[in-house]
Symmetry: C2
Subunit: 754 residues, 2 copies
């Protein structure tokens, strides 16, 4: 698989640090040290700038623009123009001079460089000693964090301490709205700016989507204020001070960013609104805000931590994952979703994919049901756009986009946007899964039913019948496995559609009043019933192995181990069409629906399909190994389970995919969590009853995690040979190691790895 | 099929005329009245310009440029940047003023307007009476033609005659190099220009492809020369004269265009070279050149005419077709090929497609074997590019492009360029067909063998074996039918590849010395042999109906007659993916290989396949109806044969496809010829012996055509009830109406339509 770890960061339990400056790694580090609070995100760049590969990124969830040009191929149903999350105002920018020398760690002499992200406070700290050309030494310590609860607030502290010689320091604190997206184009229009000792601000708008970001900032310092400057996209205050040995000075910057997705009032009003909050923030002060942040993260780790004893690297890895996932999304606003790279970069355009419902939703379901609900309400709020997308595809109902920010399809490659329907079936799956785990009937009535109905309408109209009208299924589709492009009866699509039909039929029988309200006709239900009964699921002769699509078994075979390492990634080295004409698969497809509806398949069936498909899977998707690890655990293949777990938690920390410089693999993080909780932890949530059936890798002393299931909070701790389920509050009923029990305090049971 | 004739032109035996000015039809007429001589082409635009929809087009075969931008999707094997034939110097441009009023037939008062193209002289004449604002009347007669033998020469005569009142006429004769391609961008760079009483010239170059066109012009007139003007892209001479009633004046423009595909010398040298020829042309004079043109076309009609008695419209239609095809290509230069729209417009980029070998080659084979040979030599000269294309697709050998001018793939849509291989198999078919009809062994040795070998290498490497290694064939391909996009075991591709393998094996057994020269190994031949034996040709259970591709029979069925007329063209009205997921086909696929290797299939088999596929064919390709007409004739379905013949000869004259404004469907013209000669004429050339087995539509009195078969010239005349084969020179051996005969003068036989 040609994936090799680059060990670089210090292994610590609740933080990640780099010691010493490594310019070649700079852009990867910027991704790793990203901060976010769902509302906004900022990469871990040097605030003062650096002469090295750098991606200065500041993003706001849901703030986006359209591409400047249409794609050249115009046919109905093909997206003409994409949209993407845009790089926005840089509110941490600073220019620092010591005796006239501009600080640039790539050019200046700096010692004891350290950059560290603390998962227990959410604070990113960068510190070093600057040996100036004038022969002085200054200790610089720069801290920043974003409030997780008052999400428009950002904090930055620049601390300077004289070590050797008297030095004159000049600092320009800058707000810069003229930021380039992909280093290429500023998508913002300047609206207003201003600077005074008391306040600097910049307001910009997006020309096409008509969104606004107002950034207001107050600066607290005892340094000398030398004046202000402002202009287009720009506001700046200048300070200076002198330091003798042992003397220190600090500059604290309080920022409030008001990101307005739908402009309703004047720039002035949006600015005054931000300034009001800015006053509160500055009055509260840096230290109290920091204390609140520590408290927030403390609470988080108390409820969501995964502890691994005996494996420091995975311990750090999984905590990094949990920290970053929580930063990206915790259910603050149902208008937000989870981009494939979170708020850490411009790659993947900030788009949300089907990853949200299939990989991320389980994490939130078992840790933060409100967030899980909000993710589904996001899809409900985009139902109109999904209906329009279905119309563009000459279909009925609602088709959810493969990649989107605003609910419209953002993917301009027709072969994905017009052929992949797992986002639509995933939304139905998400509703079903959410209802099953939470028992939230109100949600189903208020939102779920309608979404399921519209998706089912779409599926019925996009599906078709074979020539003899005996088999229903999907023609010219791409399943989750993107290496089989345009096939008929993709088993995943057919199976998921069948389950959607079944779920809708069951909802209709349960909620007659909703059938009436939405005008579900008997004829329609009869059509659904017939399609459901006749949905074709191709298998081998034994009926045990599902055929990924009709004809898959007959495809030319490739021994994937015969492919030279230098051929990876295949998309870069193989002719595009070559990828699509053999039995190699990129990621689980049959195994994927077997994961989602795990308890609907016998162990024998899962084993047969795992053993057939795993050797054909090249895992070019970062989501693939975790799914295989979960199956390997269930099927008693513990060595394989550990092998596939391999880089799940440290994919970005160790830059396995060689592209962490572009941002984090945020949705893969959720797969890492699933790998532990569903894989080793043996949790199953796809049935009426919770299942807990853990195993433990031989090299671990213990591991533990917490879940919130129908209001019961349980901690599951697994050691070699035994495990305990400890319940707080409401008793938990579950099938534990094959036995149904109700646990009200602590239940211990044996764990044996065969 | 939503195709309706717009009868507009006067029906005449050897010309096409419009009477009266019809501004709405202007751009269609410009296409119809196009002139060309293979070297260059010019649309039938008004030389003085017109305020109406117009496409002023002047093209040179093989003069092209690259697009200004890459396509956004970058994967290996996907063409980044296309190339296309560009609009070039306008050497007919003129500004005409009468008493200060600028001539513009759309704005001025003109009477008795007539535009006429004479197939017997190649002259386009436009005439009208101009009632000037100053109250005078002037007869204007403008003539133009291109030399068919001295192909760089163009002629234009502007004739004016006073009818009523004394009028002052001013004429600017212009060379204009600043022409827009697609009305959007001038792809030329100015190089030089000059104007004097004796000569005007403009030289331009292409910036990327480094080609040059030098246009030099000499003007003969007794009008007063008032001066010259030249500048960037521009040269102009001004003349004036006065006319009383009955007085006339004329301006004759002699142009030589030197289109330099590979610049080897200075602009000056290329210009002097052109001027040298210009002197000869002007000295010879307009009338002698015209006489030569008449002679050329006279010869052409003597050898290539098709006469139809009893159907004036098809008589005119087929002669228009033959005239335009001869203008487009007659084998003057093996560096030229036949663009889908010839030299009559910018649509289809001037690209040659597989149409050349499958539709056009038979026409040249039976009328002009030298041209047929040159078409194949064109492919030989592009073998290097085809090898590079194969490499881009991770394959061996040579892959011929789906659309090209310079030998490189010009199609940026990967789904066509990377999945359609009929151009490659068509080249091999062309070699085989050429050798069969001409018996030209030297060609096979000098060119054919190598091309066949390289294509066979490609096919072997692009093809693959099913999982159990029992079936060889092509995976992820698109056959000729473009409504089944990405399929396995497309029967056409598999069958054609099998025939390529067989042909190569037979060549190897015949030409051992060539096997040695090209290093054809025994192992390779064994591989080819095995692939050939195992090539999979899917059929129905009876084995009689070929399955267009594996799984085609199981596709959802559409009743094509249920599709509303308003849905056509489907590419404009259906979601792109919707076109590809049912059993509707755009054009013949199984029937296509049955046409190419007609005598390899039983009549019963052809009937079964015709009756299965015809009702599933929507004929969105202009090449489709003729193929069906040919089969209908063979299968005794004479009414259907006539129905499909319907618009074959008059597709552009009657603008059936509503897009003749963009240029003529030049390769469809060849299909119209095949429709008569192979269809009604019952000619078959795919066996060792020529077959002649004619029928005649009941509404025709008679029809006749000539063929050149292995050096024998035969005229076949078919009347109701009987037919005659008249041979000039070498006796002709053929299977005529089922009986093998050798005809040395005239052979008469009965024709009965069952």
């Amino acid at each position: 698989m040609a994936k090799v770890a680059t060990k670089y960061f210090v292994t610590e339990p609740y933080s990640v640090s780099e010691k010493g400056l490594n310019l070649e790694r700079n852009q990867v580090s910027e991704s790793i040290f990203s901060l976010a609070n769902e509302y906004m995100g900022v990469r871990g760049t040097a605030e003062e700038g650096i002469s090295a590969d750098t991606l200065r990124g500041s993003y706001f969830n849901g703030i986006y623009e359209y591409a400047r040009e249409d794609v050249p191929m115009h046919y109905k149903g093909i997206v003409k123009r994409t949209h993407f999350m845009i790089n926005s105002v840089d509110y941490l920018a600073v220019e620092i001079y010591a005796d006239g020398e501009r600080l640039d760690t790539a050019k200046c002499t700096v010692k004891n460089f350290e950059r560290s992200l603390d998962f227990k406070s959410g604070v990113l700290t960068r510190s070093f000693v600057w040996n100036t050309k004038s022969g002085k030494k200054v200790l610089c310590v720069f801290k920043r964090f974003l409030s997780m609860t008052k999400c428009r607030r950002a904090y930055q502290k620049l601390y300077f301490e004289g070590i050797d010689g008297r030095v004159n320091i000049q600092v320009n604190c800058i707000l810069n709205g003229n930021v380039l997206h992909w280093g290429d184009h500023c998508y913002w229009e300047h609206e207003n700016s201003g600077a005074s000792e008391n306040l600097i601000f910049v307001s910009c708008v997006t020309p096409t989507t008509n969104q606004r970001v107002v950034s207001v900032q107050k600066i607290q310092t005892t340094a000398t204020f030398n004046g202000s400057k402002s202009g287009e996209y720009y506001a700046c205050n200048n300070y200076s001070f002198e330091l003798n040995e042992g003397q220190s000075e600090q500059i604290v910057r309080y920022t409030v960013n008001n990101a307005v997705k739908n402009i309703k009032c004047s720039e002035e009003q949006d600015r005054l609104n931000a300034i009001e909050e800015l006053e509160l923030s500055a009055n509260e002060g840096f230290d109290i805000a920091l204390k609140n942040s520590v408290e927030y993260w403390n609470n988080f780790w108390n409820t969501c931590d995964i502890e691994i004893e005996g494996d420091e690297e995975n311990q750090q890895g999984i905590r990094f994952c949990l920290f970053q996932l929580q930063q990206t999304y915790h259910g603050y606003d149902p208008e937000n979703n989870i981009g494939a790279k979170g708020l850490t970069g411009e790659a993947y355009s900030g788009h949300a994919f089907w990853d949200t419902e299939t990989y991320c939703l389980p994490y939130y379901l078992l840790n933060n049901p409100v967030a899980a609900k909000n993710l589904l309400i996001y899809r409900y709020s985009k139902l109109e756009q999904a209906k329009q997308r279905a119309k563009m595809l000459d279909c009925d109902g609602a088709c959810y986009p493969i990649a989107t920010l605003n609910g419209n399809e953002g993917c301009t490659l027709w072969q994905h946007a017009s052929l992949q329907f797992q986002p639509s079936t995933a939304v139905v799956y998400g509703v079903w899964h959410y209802a099953l785990v939470t028992g939230d009937e109100k949600f189903v009535k208020d939102y779920g039913f309608e979404m399921v109905y519209e998706v089912v309408k779409f599926l019925l109209s996009r599906g078709d019948w074979n020539a003899s009208k005996t088999k229903f299924g999907f023609y010219s589709v791409m399943g989750p496995d993107e290496f089989q492009m345009m096939v008929n009866h993709n088993c995943y699509t057919n199976y998921m559609a069948k389950r959607c039909f079944e779920y809708f039929i069951s909802l209709c029988s349960r909620y007659l009043e909703l059938c009436k309200k939405f005008g579900v006709s008997k004829e329609f239900l009869a059509q659904i019933q017939r399609a459901c009964e006749c949905t074709y699921l191709p298998t081998d002769k034994s009926g045990m192995i599902y055929e990924q699509h009709e004809g898959y078994f007959e495809l030319p075979h490739i021994d994937i181990h015969s492919i030279p390492v230098t051929d990876f990634p295949l998309y870069d080295n193989w002719s595009y069409d070559r990828i699509y004409r053999n039995d190699m698969i990129k990621q689980p497809d049959v195994l994927m629906f077997m994961l989602l509806y795990n308890q609907s398949f016998s162990k024998q069936c899962k084993l047969a399909n795992y053993e057939f498909y795993e050797p054909r899977t090249i895992h070019e998707s970062s989501l693939s190994p975790s799914v295989h690890s979960i199956f390997a655990s269930e099927l008693g293949k513990h060595d394989e389970a550990l092998k596939f777990f391999g880089f799940a938690t440290r994919m970005d920390l160790d830059d396995y995919n060689r592209n962490a410089n572009q941002g984090l693999h945020t949705t893969s993080i959720a797969a890492a969590w699933m790998n532990i909780v569903y894989g080793f932890g043996g949790i199953r949530t796809d049935g009426e009853k919770l299942v807990i059936n853990p195993t433990i890798p031989g090299i671990w002393k213990s591991y533990s995690f917490k879940i919130n299931y129908k209001g019961s909070i349980a901690k599951i701790k697994v050691e070699q040979g035994k495990a305990t389920v400890s319940v707080i509050g409401k008793p938990l009923t579950a099938v534990i190691a094959g036995k149904e029990v109700t646990v009200s305090s602590v239940y211990e049971f044996a764990v044996k790895n065969p």
